[in-house]
Symmetry: C2
């Protein structure tokens, strides 16, 4: 892959995910922390207006607005839909972007630890996953490569290469030191990896590693009025990236009944009971475990 | 103390604390769960409008609006200031309330477990704490009796007797089964205690027990612009009700420096890094450990 010349670190894509916002403030005071010799780094506070209101977003989830059709649809006039066009102009345009690499910083209320979400499984990304896992034993690598980068609607899909750094558990509107430290560390390793890639100085990496590949999203059980009839089962709560097998309990209804998962594969739930799902009744994402080869 | 004839269970005082809201819905379908023979029980969804907007409050914290002066001040016209007057009419009026006992259901993002907050240390409350702790080994009892019930500004101060049930950790906008179960169980024990008090059928209680007494509130370190300069130290995060001694680390500044607590007593932090403090920069409450005698 070509040399990466321009990197953007984006925080505050969701206004109530505080770690990235506070790290940007810190890095803007000490830019040497995120500077490297072989590329330029800029920081972008994506949705300051949502942060001012202490909300994820005002009108619509910003991290769902970067599909190519939506970026070209001028009928979409919600705040985040306009903001997406502005960010696309600043960092993109998607498909021919002036930014070579985007690091988008997120928190989750789920117990996902320090997760690196990759949108494609090309050699550059497979090696990045190995490098980050070699440096950071807690790190988890998740491939969301069920769609192409062009088809993805995330901020980080503006550039040809990009990642989502997703760290939890952290309640919305809170800064936890452990979570902040994890986010700072993972970002450092990603920047180091790009520098080593650019200068053709990559060390020997693990030849293969365990990772996860997104498969599907589960919704909470609803009643006939469309209201929640149950919640995530306590056996699944906080068990992100632990195996879920056919017949395992997955939901508890408010009337006390249990619901069991029916699946024909061993699933690895994540984003379990994420607070941002309050308005769409999602329960969790599922993944398969995969072995990634780095060569 | 006199017989208690009328009990109100209040949920949704804060619109993004979900456990109480979902329990009220459940109990309204099965009212026998919260009914007892010797008193009437009503449920009150205090701030449905804030819940519709998935916020703690619209204009001001509802659970700070029940000071006697504020209830009588018609210049205060924010939404929650008007709502407080309406609730005071419905359940009160404070000082001469038609409701004898209020149970106000709350969640915290702090690791407080199932906490029972009592506003006075009279014999009735001291025994209630013993009863709840005898029935529920995880329960924590906190006395916030630094002010009189009249002086308090909480919803539960409308009636002569009342409690705050405060259960965590739970992120805002999330329903965790473990937290919901704790809240349902603690509420059951409180209702049972009132029934046993009314029917003069209280069992033998522990003659004394450990509890906590609120002492003071600590704020986060701020910079010269009034912005946060640091966060709760990772050694204190999640350590609610663990001892904090003079010289223990309490904050980490974003520049990496540590701040140590200077105190002349052994403090027990709680409400540590509560998300609702995002706009007032509070860090935690402190308490002293006390031994409560039930006779």
């Amino acid at each position: 892959m070509d040399k990466i010349n321009t990197v953007a670190i984006v925080g505050g894509t969701h206004g109530n995910e505080y770690s990235g916002i506070y790290l940007l403030r810190h890095w803007d005071k000490q830019p040497e922390i995120v500077s490297r010799s072989s590329f330029s780094t800029q920081t972008v506070f994506a949705n300051a207006k949502a942060h001012d209101e202490n909300k994820r977003y005002l009108d619509a989830d910003l991290n769902r607005q970067f599909g190519m059709d939506d970026l070209n649809n001028y009928e979409l006039r919600g705040y985040e839909q306009c903001l997406a066009k502005s960010l696309n102009q600043q960092l993109g345009p998607k498909g021919n972007a002036k930014t070579d690499f985007i690091i988008d910083l997120h928190n989750t209320t789920s117990n996902m630890g320090p997760s690196l979400i990759l949108l494609q499984a090309d050699e550059f990304n497979r090696k990045m996953g190995a490098y980050v896992k070699d440096k950071m034993s807690d790190a988890v690598v998740v491939f969301e490569d069920h769609a192409t980068v062009e088809e993805h609607y995330f901020v980080s899909s503006i550039s040809k290469q990009g990642v989502i750094v997703e760290i939890g558990p952290q309640p919305q509107s809170v800064i936890r030191q452990d979570i902040l430290d994890w986010m700072a560390e993972m970002t450092k390793h990603i920047l180091d990896y790009i520098e080593l890639h650019n200068t053709q100085a990559l060390p020997d990496l693990s030849s293969s590693y365990e990772a996860f590949k997104y498969t599907e999203t589960l919704s909470l059980p609803l009643d006939e009025k469309g209201e929640r009839a149950g919640m995530v089962h306590k056996a699944v709560q906080d068990a992100d990236f632990s195996p879920l097998k056919d017949g395992d309990p997955i939901f508890t209804l408010f009337n006390g009944e249990e619901v069991y998962w029916q699946g024909d594969y061993i699933a690895y739930p994540h984003f379990i009971n994420e607070a941002a799902y309050y308005d769409n009744n999602l329960a969790m994402s599922l993944a398969e475990k995969i072995i990634v080869e780095t060569v």
